[in-house]
Structure formats: C-alpha cells, structure tokens
C-alpha cells in the first residue's frame, strides 16, 4: 500500500514542472488565441477590458485583404519550390557523401554547417552577397557584366528575390535533409547494387530502381520536414528581403516577398491589428495541418506502391 502511494506521489511530482510549463506556454495561449480571433482584441484592450465578440469579421476582412491573399499564394509557391529544391539538392549531396570520394567527410561537414547557423544571420550574409558581392563579380568578369548593373540587383525584383529566398532556404536546409538521406542510404544492402551491376544496370538505373524505392520512407520524412520548414519560414524572410520589393496585386501595392509568417507578424505589430493577425495565425495553423496531413498520406500511399 505504501509503495503504491509513493508511485502516485512521484508520478505527480515528476510531471508537475512540465505540466505547468505546458499549461502556461501552450495550452492557455492556444485557447486564448482561438478565442481572440473572434474578438476585437487590441493592445489597448489588454486585460479583457471592452473585449467584444465580433464573429467572423477578422477572418472575412483577412480574406478581403489583397496583401494576405498574396502572402498566402506566395507561401504556397515558395513552399513547393523550396521543397523541390531542397530535396533534389539534398539527395544529390547524399549520393556524393556516401560515394567513395576521397574528401567525402570534408564534404559532409561543409554541406551540413549552414544548418547550424540561425536563419536570421544567414539572411544578412546573403543580403550582402546579393547586394554587394554579386555586382562586384559582375564588374570583374566581362561576360557577367549584366550583374553589375544596379537595375539588375537580385533582391530588387520580385521574382528574382523569391528565387533568392529559395536559394538561401536550400543552402540552409539541404545539409540537414542530406543527413536523413544518408542514414537511409546506409541501410540499403550493398548486395542489391552488386546484383544489379552484374545484370548490367548503370548508376542512374540503380538509383532509380533500387535506391529510391528502398528509401521511400525517408522521402515521407524529408518532404514533411521541408514542407513545414518552408511554410513557417520567417527568419530568412526578415533579414534577406524584409518582405520587399513592392509589387502590385489585385490593383494594390503589396510587399512582393512577404511570406505568411511575416504577414501575420506585420499585421499584428506594424499595422497594429492584433485580432486580425491572430485570425490569420489561426488560418495558418489550419492550413498547415491540412497540407501536412495530405502530404504524409500521399507519401504513405506512394511508399506502398514502391
């Protein structure tokens, strides 16, 4: 009997700190957040003073705002481009570092290192590269002289700035995804490759017919991770482009590279509309769940086929 009481006591004592933190940091703010998205919540109406329920108008107003719709579409485009770029690069990198090249261990470290540095700092580095180093390369190499023209600055045009975000996103994340592929590749039995080689399969046939089906499970994980990472991108967006350059959408000037996470932040703090920012965050949450569930189930189905 005494033993049972002790077990009970330890159960609650050991669980208590995480329960408190979880309640204070996640559970309560989560429900407050869902609730606030239906109210006229603002920073001046802090402690519940004059807080009124206004139904769905934060949501309807969000969907009437071209800047939000644009951010939404842009984020979807960015997510798709980024997923493809990261996974393709990471797969090639994984093939490289699992081959028998002499410097493979050095390559592994080099490819992985960008991932250890925060997106904010990486964004500033690349801002300098795109705004200063690239034009300087254009000046010194005659056949790239177009790059030196200030009118051609990569970050000054919307499409190229979006590509710049993809490049930085890939550079940052490919090394990490590479490691997941490496772990999967190392699990593929060597005999399969040997047998295929004897049967006369070349490298590309072996990759397509043996490697890819054998690591199908890894694709589900990497696609999920890159999807979530791209959809939530914030740090690089802030420091690389800060949402700029401006562009037109539905007859209104908008920020050409403002992804959803940045749009939510700006709506709440720069436009000073907390409740609407919160409503957008709720939309963000729902969309993220739907698309990641769709992705995982689609990949699972593919896994079985392969």
């Amino acid at each position: 009997m005494k033993r049972k009481q002790e077990t009970q006591l330890i159960f609650w004592i050991f669980l208590c700190p995480v329960l408190i933190a979880f309640l204070l940091v996640i559970v309560i703010p989560f429900f407050m957040g869902v609730f606030y998205s239906f109210t006229n919540w603002s920073s001046s109406a802090r402690a519940g003073v004059s807080l009124q329920c206004i139904g769905l108008s934060n949501f309807t107003e969000s969907f009437e705002d071209p800047a939000f719709l644009y951010s939404f579409l842009l984020t979807l485009v960015y997510t798709v481009l980024n997923m493809i770029a990261i996974n393709l690069t990471a797969f090639i990198l994984a093939i490289i570092v699992t081959s028998k090249l002499r410097l493979r261990n050095l390559y592994r470290v080099g490819f992985f290192i960008p991932n250890l540095i925060g997106g904010l700092i990486l964004g500033y580095v690349w801002q300098f590269i795109f705004n200063n180093a690239v034009p300087a390369i254009g000046e010194s190499l005659p056949f790239l002289s177009a790059l030196a023209d200030p009118a051609n600055l990569i970050l000054s045009k919307r499409n190229s700035a979006l590509m710049a975000l993809v490049v930085v996103g890939t550079w940052q994340y490919a090394g990490y995804i590479m490691m997941i592929y490496v772990a999967a590749l190392e699990g593929v039995p060597e005999e399969l490759h040997e047998a295929a080689t004897i049967d006369g399969a070349n490298t590309f046939q072996r990759i397509r017919l043996i490697t890819i089906p054998m690591i199908a499970q890894a694709f589900t994980i990497t696609m999920f991770l890159t999807l979530v990472q791209s959809f939530k991108q914030f740090d690089v967006n802030v420091s690389l482009t800060a949402g700029g350059p401006s562009a037109m959408f539905m007859g209104q000037p908008i920020f050409g590279t403002e992804l959803l996470a940045l749009n939510i932040y700006q709506t709440a703090f720069t436009a000073n509309n907390l409740a609407e920012g919160q409503a957008r965050a709720v939309v963000f949450f729902i969309v993220l769940i739907i698309i990641s569930l769709a992705q995982v189930s689609a990949n699972k189905r593919k896994e079985i086929e392969l």
Binding site: I10, F30, A47, I92, I96, Y107, V125, N132, S140, F234
Partner: protein
Amino acid sequence: MNKKSNQNYILECIAALLFLAFIFPFFIVLINSAKGSFEVTQQPMKLPDDWSMILKNMVSIWTNPNIQYQNSFISSSLITAISLVVIVMFSSQAAWVLVRTKTRISRFFFFIFVAAMVIPFQIVMFPLLSWFRMIYTVTGIRLLRTYQGMILAYLGFGLSLSIFMYHGFIKSIPLELEEAATIDGCSKARIFFTIISPILKPIHATVVVLNGIWIWNDYLLPLLILGKGNRVQTIPLAVANFAGAYVKQWDLILTAILMAMIPIIIFFLLAQKHIIRGMVAGSIK
C-alpha cells in the same frame, strides 16, 4: 572500367563545385571581416590586405556600447544553458513516469504532449504576450523581458519533442532493473537519479543538441518576449538590431556575424558525431 573512372571523375568535380558553393558565404564573411567600411562595399570580393584587421574589428564590436555584444553573448549563453538543464531534467523525469505508469491519465498526458507538436508558434505567440502580462498584473511575477520568462517559454515549447524522444528510449529499458532496485529498498526518486538517468545519457545528448541549436539561433521568440533594445538581449536580437539601426555598416555587421558563428562552429567541430546523430534521430522521431 574506363567508364567507371569517368563517372567518378564527373562526380568528383560536381562534389568539389558544390562544396565550394556551400562554403562561399562563409568565405565572404571571413574576408570582409578583415576590411574597413569603405573597402567592404567597394571591393567585397578582394582578399584583405591586412588580416590583422579582423582582430581590430572584433575588438570594436566587443567593446562598442551601442551593440552590447558582450551582454548579448552572456545572455544567450545563460538562456541556452539554463533552458537545456531544465528541459533535460524535467522532460526525462516526466517521460519516465509516463512510461512506467500504465493508467488512462498517463496515456492521456502523453497523447496531449505529442499532439501539441503540430501547433505552430504563430498561433500562440500573440496571446502568450498578453497572458504573460496578465500573470504579471495578477501575481507580480515578471515574465516579459526577463530570463525566467524566456526559460519558461523554452521549456514549454521544447518539452513535447524531448518527452517524445525520452519516451521512446525508456520503453526499451528492462523493468527488471528497477524491480531489483525496489526489492533492495531503493526509493522511486533514487531509482530515477541513480539508475535511469545515467542510462539515458545518449538521449540526453540528443535532446541537448536538438534544443541547444534551436535556442541559440532562435529569433522570433526572444524578439517577442525580450523585445528590441532592452536590457536582456540574445545574439540574434543584437545582430538584427545592429543591422537595422546602422545604415548598413557592412564591415561591422559581417564581423558581428562572424563572431556569432564562431561559437557554434567550434561546438560543432568538437561534438560533430553527437550533433549529426542527434539531429537525424530528432527528425526520424
């Protein structure tokens, strides 16, 4: 055979090119940290004339009262270290009792912790601020702009994944180990600290790596909780402030960036195996 070596040659070239492309940004940061402000913007691709400028620039960042680099470094280190201790200690304890207690409530808690992993930060961040403000008005406990607020938040956001990782590992520890200790009269708490926690060492390392890299680099959470330009600042906040406040003084920004990168790169080179293993384990969950 000849075809094979040709293929290898091509692969070798692609690999070398990709490697150069990947380290090119670091190279740019390094060479431009050793230049003066004029040279950085006029000749960003040129190798520096005098490498000792790098030290001069670093000292000027370290001592510049406007940047507060020293304080940021100390704050970042304190926040990361204490958050890690708290996360490791409390999540491993919680995971252990959740595995060893087979009741409905225990299963429910575990399910909720894991389910919370899908909640993106964006949906809780604004209410978190007003909620922390409410806590201050009611209890007088200051959570905004303080270390304790940051650490509490990191425990809250870090515990789900950490508990999940501990949970998976603890399930594989044979129960007989604990039963034997119980028969010898060992108390529950002592079993955890003297038997279980040492067995968990590899998972402790994974949890430290995963959370440590995230916390050290995090920007949005400190931006919200600590705010811009206050007494307590982390390094990413300091760099962001500094890059925004000065009209693009790239020589100083790049040196500050170099100084922000150095600790992580040293840490990585020292614990490479653990870091890579830890981060891959964290992804496969």
